[in-house]
Symmetry: C2
Subunit: 189 residues, 2 copies
DNA sequence: GAAAACAATTGACAAATGTCAAGCGCCTCA
DNA sequence: TGAGGCGCTTGACATTTGTCAATTGTTTTC
């Protein structure tokens, strides 16, 4: 489990064994069962989370009780609600496990300490944020400019893992369409 | 023009007069006329741009020639295509002026130099990126979970300036709907 | 100052997507 | 092991949004 994280860090930053030990010592493992929350709407997000196993989702729930999936995340992805984490405000979102999962938690203060102590780690995290921003800009572009069918095909191509591992109703929710609509367009009208 | 930038920097970071002089010396001014491009699809984005005057937009153009506005930006906002800027790849987007505008340009290398030299400036820029990411996550949430009418009302409330200064057809484009649809829902069906 | 371009609206109709209800197969878990 | 729940599909119909064309008033441009 920690091995996964180790490989990830060594692949993304020039971190020595000793430095990695510092990272490891600041983390703790949490196991999640399918459907278990990692973060619940209204709670304050206190951890940066690195996924070592499983599939998770971030979603909101509207007035009518409909869920809307903001993003999926799996092994080697980070997940948290940055808005809540950075500002210390109650989260608008839920994060839960779609499959049984394992995550490494890094408390906010520990994370700040680690980034101060290890500039290469800080750089790695900043680069991830940069990429995340670019990704979400591109998603905005897609969601306002594509038809339901185009969105679905792009999704399958970009994220084949998610397409295989997430139930169709969740994919529909991610795309902003109804499960029935997705079912129909998959079976060509 | 530079005054606007100075006030902005002093409001957002603990920068001395001398340090500000360094920032200023790395910038150059560009004036844009309405409809003039700051960045054109296919070109590589080479500058971080700070807007001192006017209203700009970032947009994509699809196969059918339809424009889709990714974002608006005005005085005291930064604008660029980070994907192109960071990776040095041709941009998928266009940036142009909706009103006559003035921007301060900071070349990529200069910006990196400034961030190395002035940690408080680097912090300021990182914080902006962090906020931008949060904002785009929230926009994704909204765009997949709201009706056209809700999107419009939220837009007007969140960005009254843009609602007043941008033509309706552009607001529709930002919201991902047709101008006719926006016109109709504004005039209550 | 006239001609052209632009911005917004409206109507009639078409296409896309949502809603509700029913049905089917498969998994799971008590 | 069997009852219920879940995931997906399908049909009939409602609603929303898009398309195209015409109209009007306003701005831009020469």
């Amino acid at each position: 489990m920690v091995d996964i994280f180790k490989r990830y860090v060594l692949d993304h930053a020039e971190v020595s064994e000793d430095e990695f030990a510092i990272l490891e010592s600041a983390s703790h493992i949490r196991k999640l069962r399918k459907r278990q929350y990692l973060l619940q709407e209204g709670d304050v997000c206190r951890y940066h989370c690195f996924i070592t196993k499983g599939l998770l989702r971030t979603y909101s729930v509207d007035d009518k009780g409909n869920e809307h999936i903001i993003r999926f995340a799996m092994e080697n992805w980070w997940i948290s609600d940055r808005e809540s984490l950075v500002n210390g405000t109650p989260s608008k979102y839920n994060i839960d496990a779609i499959e049984d999962a394992e995550v490494l938690l890094f408390a906010k203060a520990d994370m700040n300490m680690l980034m101060d102590k290890l500039p290469v780690f800080k750089k790695m995290i900043s680069d991830i944020l940069d990429k995340s921003f670019i990704t979400s800009q591109n998603r905005i572009n897609e969601v306002i400019s594509s038809t339901a069918e185009e969105k679905y095909h792009n999704f399958v191509q970009r994220y084949p893992q998610f397409a295989l591992r997430a139930p169709q109703a969740m994919i529909a929710s991610y795309l902003g369409i109804k499960p029935e609509t997705l079912s129909r367009l998959r079976n060509k009208r």
